[in-house]
């Protein structure tokens, strides 16, 4: 639940999602769910020429299981709060 809560804090921020098939998509985080499925709005593909089929896609749903990385803005989240939350979660587990 920790990362679900973490991503909920990032809703509205610009992120770049890198998928396991090497596709990189930049967009605004619209929503996330317990499986860490991601919905992005206002999307732009990073290497557009390599992926012509993605040209008119502006919103998308990304299945959590295919995400490799989610690149965040450096000031996206307070790292200390995240650190505390992780320690609390580790203590409980």
């Amino acid at each position: 639940m920790l990362f679900f809560s973490y991503f909920k804090e990032l809703v509205g921020k610009e992120v770049t999602v890198e998928l396991k098939n090497d596709l990189e998509i930049r967009g605004t985080l619209h929503s996330v769910d317990q499986y860490l499925n991601i919905k992005l709005e206002n999307t732009r593909v990073v290497d557009q020429d390599k992926y012509p089929h993605m040209l008119s896609v502006r919103n998308c749903f990304i299945r959590g299981s295919v995400v490799r990385y989610v690149q965040l803005p450096p000031d996206g989240v307070d790292i200390d709060i995240l650190h505390d939350a992780t320690r609390r979660e580790a203590r409980g587990a």
């Binding site: 098939n21 040209l55 998308c60």
Partner: protein
């Protein structure tokens, strides 16, 4: 997500409900690109596409191969994209060809990749940097 989303769930739900009855692009794990209208989905991202077709792209050539009514198992889904109807789906320089032509182009591309792979294997013994 075991029941229909209530009004309070709408703002933070990654439900595919907002994509219902829309023309979508579905990317599959095997690299295939399916287009169609979403008629049904569930919590595993299983989906039903009506009027589905596979868009095969080889270089600047493309072909839409009609498939009909499709049920997609969610584990194969990479991405579901909403197509902006006001935008061009593909760059203008791309050329639509017949299914036979695109299959020929796919084979040619596969043969070129295989040849490249086998040549690399033959060069490996040289131990070049």
């Amino acid at each position: 997500m075991s029941s229909w989303a209530g009004p309070e769930d709408v703002f933070l739900s990654t439900s595919l409900a907002s994509y219902l009855d829309k023309k979508l692009l579905v990317l599959l794990r095997d690299g295939r690109k399916l287009l169609g209208i979403l008629r049904s989905f569930d919590q595993f991202a299983n989906a039903v596409l009506e009027g589905a077709c596979e868009r095969v792209i080889v270089g600047d050539l493309y072909c839409d191969i009609p498939l009909g009514l499709y049920v997609i198992r969610g584990e194969n889904v990479v991405l579901i994209g909403e197509l902006d109807l006001e935008k061009e789906e593909l760059p203008a320089h791309m050329i639509s060809v017949s299914a036979t032509e695109i299959r020929r182009a796919q084979k040619a591309e596969r043969d070129a990749t295989d040849l490249k792979g086998s040549m690399r294997k033959r060069m490996e013994f040289l131990d070049l940097d």
